[in-house]
Symmetry: C2
Subunit: 491 residues, 2 copies
């Protein structure tokens, strides 16, 4: 193997880190909690961005850009936002360095202290709603449907590459509406967009639901989320969409004249996904050989590896590869020809497996004679011989098959790892023995939720939107419940 | 007129601000020196990004992402970098807020002071070269050709939308090479890429040259720049590409084993363009009616305005517009149908002129009868009647014509505004009477350059790469010179 990876069984957490590092996706930087996203990892993120951006535009959104810094006082304006939102932020207090009089590099110039500290945005509701006040006078100015692609910072004590980092990349949508109903529709539309993206492009099945009050975004009236299940049986929140009511409009005094001439507060939503999706993508599909990528997001979908001795063979193989590569590219498939001359084919095979390239095509002198190639699919590690004349068509079909297979595999895993329980004992037993999603009746109170969390570490991931309405009794208090909540231990 | 704009003659600076604000490109934010890029402005920036990104990838570059924060000590490592680079930066000193014990919002938690302050990146050479140390061992690891799209912060005292803001968006390329020659070639390739982009897409003619030592990037051995001329006769530096020698490799101890087995320092380049290009784009072409956009970067290339009385007419016109719109869109042209029913056509005309939409098509009941439309081009304000059957073809040709005309007009302006002078008196006289670019002989010393700058405010924009080699005498000292330098007062 090119680079040894810890197996999932041995140490799931190390397995994840190994893949991220050794597949060249990201690494830790010299700045605590901040990562470097390496070219291969960034290429995957770019594919995610491109597709999401397209879907946002198709649903009527435009991009804009708001400042990185937010005046400290803005955070106090929306009471529950400041209460509920983590106060771990990066705070800018000065604006100038000067030479150290002792000649030891540079020091902070104490004369250049800001009158009001600036917070590096952990999210942008406050600065955006402060801006919207100037943009909205009448119902004719509504709706405003904006998104921004940006970096945000939340000072995290314990970080993990992609899953939890101090700085991360994300998109945040912020919309303003004339009616409550329209804002709720928008929040629901966007959680559906996220669900479609994560399922159809990332190949990760998700459950859409609403958050309990305790798990809601600070300042939201309702939070919708999509929840995915990782191979270790832990849940991962993959995206959220918030109906913010009139909370931010009231905090920042954003009113509009309605058609009828009344002055009303504006209704709001916000929604976001981040580079955390990279973590979900990696953990959902990969195996002990490395990354497994869904073809729709793979920067390289097909890699050709020549099997050759000497230049003469390489020249003949390269000519054939050039021809096949052109056929594939004509179908919009991204192809790489790995003709490095200092590495053995076996090493290259392992490296492309590690990097999750969906299809590998090996071609040697015997293949030239027989008019075949050896084709290997990454998801099942299956190998097959294919006529050269059939390669383009075969690969095209195969990429669709792999995309589908990856999703079906993850779906099957999730189904096996989802358990309905009727008692608290059963709940605890399933949690320790098997993990995964647990569907259980809950009395709807924050107290019970808190008790379960404290005693088991499991939290309510969501109350599924498509959940069955059924009479039941809370597993802890026995009080009546009308729908099961989805519990899990989460990332 | 929809929104009155100050004329260039009356107040050029106010004219610029009026266009930026009233065309909905950007506005000032609540944070000093930071702007909000509004959707229309951001849509132009996205078109710039997409084209540049394509050109970077075509020249073998990949994108990656490095941290927003840089440890303070990194800045002291490259001596001329810290000396020359402005020390006005945003400095993060704390990482937590807490509730004010007096109940007045939030305050900085003094217990959460960072051991080492973090600087919000003003540029990323230091953090990137600190990272490259871990990536480069052998010549086989080279070249590394990366780019990042990012926000950067330089604390500016006097800011102007797009032209000079505390936070701005940019791309920064950072490459590592095994040989000096290869690094120089890279720096030259990228300044050519910038030149091609600015001329062919933005329609702004530029002069490529090298910077004098005084104007060089801090830490660079050579800085190449492209210089453009604005309508007020001031120059604007539109992009730079630096050959950094081994300076950053030495500062961050980045060595590689050469083919011959020797341990050598790596050669570097960096290059960048920013949202400043938006400023150049606006100032280069716009007129007293508002923005003039080159078709290749216009978010909306064609706008249809219906001229109608009552619903029945609108329905008939809309049917025809739908048909023509589809024809244009089939050619890849972006079209907007402005069928707002609360605004008069005249108001809409003025608004689309203000926003620089290259082609406007008006269509009323008479046009329906005659089978024509009224077509107006933004660059010349010319109007013409066109057969409906010929619209798609006509518009396609016209967009190319407008793109070309805009460039030719700017080129002609630059030629008229470029003066060769032989004496310092002439230099000063041209500068005050006419402005623009001045080509003059200079003795190559920093002293003379400084004297000219102090006495006239003009700086050496560059020593043109394509400049004629001719013997001459420095206009100030009379010492010999072999080539004219390009002088101007600059933004």
């Amino acid at each position: 193997m090119a680079k040894e990876i810890t197996s999932r069984e041995e140490n799931y957490s190390q397995w994840y880190t190994d893949i991220v590092m050794k597949a060249g996706l990201a690494e830790h930087s010299a700045v605590r909690g901040c990562m470097v996203i390496k070219p291969y990892g960034y290429a995957i993120w770019e594919k995610m961005q491109a597709q999401l951006d397209k879907m946002f535009k198709e649903t009527g959104h435009q991009n804009a850009y708001f400042p990185l810094f937010i005046p400290k006082s803005f955070f106090s304006k929306e009471a529950s936002h400041v209460e509920g939102f983590a106060k771990e932020c990066a705070i800018v207090t000065h604006y100038r360095l000067k030479n150290d009089p002792n000649g030891k590099g540079v020091i902070v110039d104490e004369d250049a202290k800001l009158e009001e500290e600036l917070i590096v945005r952990p999210t942008s509701e406050t600065i955006i709603w402060n801006t919207y006040r100037g943009w909205i006078q009448s119902y004719r100015d509504l709706p405003i449907k904006l998104n921004q692609w940006a970096n945000v910072v939340r000072w995290e004590m314990r970080t993990r590459l992609f899953l939890r980092t101090a700085e991360f990349l994300w998109q945040e949508g912020h919309t303003a509406h004339a009616t409550k109903q329209e804002a709720i529709e928008e929040a629901k539309t966007m959680i559906q967009v996220y669900s479609t993206f994560v399922q159809d492009y990332m190949g990760v099945p998700v459950t859409i639901g609403t958050k309990s009050e305790a798990e809601r975004f600070a300042g939201a009236v309702d939070t919708y989320s999509i929840e995915a299940l990782m191979q270790d049986g832990k849940a991962l929140q993959a995206g959220t969409s918030h109906f913010l009511g009139q909370n931010f409009a009231k905090a920042f005094d954003v009113k509009f004249a309605s058609k009828e001439g009344a002055l009303e507060y504006v209704w709001a939503t916000s929604w976001g996904v981040s580079t955390r999706l990279m973590g979900a993508l990696i953990m959902a599909h990969s195996d002990d050989n490395g990354l497994v990528l869904p073809p729709k997001l793979a920067p390289i979908q097909v890699v050709f590896v020549p099997i050759f001795k000497g230049d003469e063979e390489l020249v003949r193989i390269s000519a054939k590869v050039k021809e096949l590569k052109a056929q594939l590219e004509a179908k919009g498939i991204s192809v790489h020809y790995d003709d490095r001359d200092n590495l053995k084919p076996g090493f290259k095979f392992a490296e492309h497996e590690l990097k999750g390239v969906p299809v590998r095509i090996a071609i040697g002198p015997k293949d030239l004679e027989k008019g075949t190639v050896e084709l290997a699919r990454r998801d099942t590690l299956e190998k097959m011989y294919v006529e050269q004349s059939a390669v383009a068509e075969k690969v095209e079909t195969l990429l669709t098959e792999i995309q589908d297979n990856i999703f079906q595999k993850a779906l099957k895993m999730r189904e096996e790892m989802t358990t309905k329980v009727e008692t608290y004992d059963e709940f605890k037993q399933v949690l320790t023995s098997k993990g995964g999603f647990i569907l259980a009746h809950w009395d709807g109170t924050a107290e019970t939720e808190e008790q379960i969390k404290e005693e088991t570490k499991a939290t309510i991931r969501c109350i599924p939107l498509a959940g069955e309405q059924e009479e039941g009794k809370c597993i802890v208090t026995g009080k009546p419940s009308k729908q099961r909540a989805l519990f899990a231990i989460a990332y």
